[in-house]
Symmetry: C2
Subunit: 143 residues, 2 copies
């Protein structure tokens, strides 16, 4: 394969461009019985190559999975068949500032109690490393 | 949430319908340093709710991941926002019959040596359990 390596800086630049405007990503966690678990998640706000924010219900199985292991991956199939993979850890947050930071009105459909809904938790994905691949060119970066 | 549970039989039926005609899926493995790893994979042939077949290069990082842990997940975002998750194990196959079973001519782009290309391996994902979710209705099945 005619694969050309991107530098770490080029990789980060490509990832920034690829994820701009993306609203949904795949979030993979360490699931039950040693299997990974995967689902589509809407991005909340302040999303970038350093940090991505999500909200979830306390009833979701991913809460237990993330308590057991905070190690996760985000996968994005961007336009033009570019693939982005980010690895990092997920913090489960319950504080007022985090809730206010991510809150958007449409979330009321899932959390009728608003930003202080006791059933809502904020997930902050902190990126450790990442990979970009497109057209046989790929690169990685580590923070 | 107004969630209604599907029976195991209904779940399998819905999954069969949802994955018919699907050509690409998300394959999640247990990756490096305790993080899951995720990529898009083209389905080869004979794919269904029991078994899914893929081909991969011996140079792919997923080979090492699957040698370390055969536990994997397949995720499919089907039409109408239906979500399918399947959990199972992946066997790495190198025998003539498996190679012949999955081979399609377009694979020559990646494996110029044809179905006996020494760089090609066949992956057989054997399903253990699954989940279907759509419009607030969901169900699981276990074999």
């Amino acid at each position: 394969m005619d694969e050309r390596e991107l530098s770490a800086d080029e990789t980060q630049e490509k990832i920034r461009a690829a994820i701009a405007g993306v609203e949904e990503v795949i979030l993979a966690t360490n699931g039950s019985h040693g299997h990974p678990n995967v689902r589509t998640m809407c991005l909340a706000c302040g999303n970038g190559i350093d940090t991505m924010w999500f909200v979830t219900s306390l009833e979701s199985s991913k809460i237990i999975e993330l308590i057991k292991s905070s190690k996760a991956a985000v996968y994005i199939r961007a336009s033009g068949d570019a693939e982005v993979r980010l690895w990092g850890t997920v913090a489960i947050l319950d504080d007022h500032d985090s809730r206010r930071y991510v809150w958007k009105d449409y979330m009321k459909d899932s959390f009728p109690g608003g930003q202080e809904d006791p059933n809502m938790r904020v997930l902050r994905f902190d990126v450790i490393s990442g990979l970009f691949a497109k057209d046989g060119k790929s690169g990685i970066f580590t923070k």
